[in-house]
Symmetry: C2
Subunit: 417 residues, 2 copies
Amino acid sequence: MPRKQIVIIGGGFGGLTAARRIHHADVVLIDRTNHHLFQPLLYQVATAALSPSDIAWPLRTVFRPQRNVRVVMDEVLSIDRVARLIRLRDSAPIPFEILIVAPGARHGYFGHDEWEPLAPGLKTMTDAVRLREKMLLAFEEAERRRAATGTQDPLTFVIVGGGPTGVELAGALAEIGRKAMGPDFPHLQLDDLSILLVEGGPRILPGFSPHLSTKAAAALARMGVTVRLNSQVSAVLVDGVRIEGELIPSGNIIWAAGNRASPLLDTLSVPQDASGRIKVQPDLTVPGDPWIFAIGDAAHCIGKDGNPLPGLAPVAMQQGRYVGDLIVNQRPPDQRRPFVYRDRGMLATIGRAKAVAQLGPIRASGLLAWLLWCIVHIFFLIGFRNRVRVMSEWVWYYITFKPGARLLYEQPQPPRE
Amino acid sequence: MPRKQIVIIGGGFGGLTAARRIHHADVVLIDRTNHHLFQPLLYQVATAALSPSDIAWPLRTVFRPQRNVRVVMDEVLSIDRVARLIRLRDSAPIPFEILIVAPGARHGYFGHDEWEPLAPGLKTMTDAVRLREKMLLAFEEAERRRAATGTQDPLTFVIVGGGPTGVELAGALAEIGRKAMGPDFPHLQLDDLSILLVEGGPRILPGFSPHLSTKAAAALARMGVTVRLNSQVSAVLVDGVRIEGELIPSGNIIWAAGNRASPLLDTLSVPQDASGRIKVQPDLTVPGDPWIFAIGDAAHCIGKDGNPLPGLAPVAMQQGRYVGDLIVNQRPPDQRRPFVYRDRGMLATIGRAKAVAQLGPIRASGLLAWLLWCIVHIFFLIGFRNRVRVMSEWVWYYITFKPGARLLYEQPQPPRE
């Protein structure tokens, strides 16, 4: 008979934090990849400023000192609440007594899933490496075209979604395009590059104060990014994107809008919100099941202001800690205080020495906010070595503008797949 | 009319070295990838000890200070000696006045090219990243199988070819398997791993002295590698390899035997040797064409001992320097001294603190040879930052045995392609 055990689905911020709290019992941590990913820096891999190994840690290495945690690399197909079993693609089902569901989210395409291959998102390392490859090949191709024809044929990047990911990606692309790539491609002129950030709402960074949104938009404009507000994407095509009726030609469309929770959550058969998240109880359990928790991007959890909490790393980490402690203390359902999110602030970086920060009553922008952003992110990086490496990468990048991560592994071949 | 120019095909050791010598004229450097690769350390990426960006440099970054060199990322389809044109897959043909052909080599499959997908080689970054992925997935799968069934089902790696690449790969696999991966896979037992090095000749490292071959074989045996000498591969199958009639079950066969020069050389229509190399003149020109040079793995060049020079980085670099200087000095064909290779020695590493070195009359093995190997390789790494990084990676790896490069980007999916 297998021993009773705690199962955690997902090695992201929520699942990892929970697993690190639990030492008294057997834990099985299941993830589709073999690594924990520092997702907030994923755009830096996508724009070739950092290498994959700078922002990812093998889960087996993370849990090497914690012998009660067993790591299983597999894909969860379904959760059987009746039989108390996790069904996996490659392994035998795993029984659970207590379950934490933290599988994260993909981007949401507003019901147009067929847009995903044409406008990929940025959630996994695979996404980032593919985007990097595509971006570098686009520059190479534009340089070849310019050398051959000399004609104007702008290289347009369209980023859909003006949240932190979209803003950070647009800023990083503008920097690498205008400053770092420029000297390397003698035929390419800087005007050949056009970066468009499309936001459906009236301002970018809607989670921040309107003042900081304006600051961020102005900083992006100075860097050469065109920001289009109140603009909906109505179609994504092979060679462009249709925005409010206008066709914008582009072979490089990146999706950074909306979240769609993992389809795995559907197998729990409990109420979900419009984006697929579980409407959790105040103790983050699924309704009617006091030992199944949903956290992070999987949880629709109402905050103090009456709105659902945003899909941010600090939310997932605090939830992971809360649930981990409930489990360690074997707290019965009627003795649990509700989860309360402590908002320690928000940061978004726009470029070198440019960021916006909102920490309680404090609003900052520019260099100060950027330094804050650096400190916070480096502080949260898990491995000591990576912390030093990423720091030295950044300093070097800051001084030289020579990204060392700019590698194309593949030979340029006709499109595969 | 386009200006007359010098064209170099290939940004490997030979092509890169030549391009760096030439400052007086326009140079076009064509490569299929966007980077120069430090191939002797490729096996360390394949075994997840180093990251890709540690051993590769974007060519555009390398030549940023040298404005007379234009980098073109494209695939050369053919060389037209009559029209003096290089025909490319994606760009317009490039005219040349002087040409250096340095496209490198792939592995040779002794006429069995159909074996390549089943037993991939290790020549490009794509090869290394795929091999790393396959190796890591094999460990994950073995762990799952062990956890599920508890039965014995050994994980066998077969490496074909006992030259430096095969030996270094076998040693690195044994180390990562037995020492680093062990603690991470609690169900996997160390006896589950079997590494087999197959060599067709009577000893491994045939380029070294028999004494050092014996030392290396003994070191490998102590690390758990089975060395089979005088053994020919007669068939490569999906689930194993046939060696001297015996079927060895394995899903992980790696080819490190023989060289097959680039098929591009066939388009020159000059005499080639059995492995496709151009039989060059003493000044490294192709017969009858005093301004077309072939160097590195593309050249069949007779050494002082009457044998063709081996396909090593120092040979390619010395040839690149020789040809670059001929071009800079515009030396007419009748005033050229023949190319002479100065053998500064050979090194092969087997594992941590284990290597063999042969430097003129000096023969060394063990720690001393390994330290020599470290110094030589770090000295030859091009970028300062990478030199420091690779050094710190190694020191860290040496102390902790926790490779940080052990990432699987892809989710495990049914085989693609």
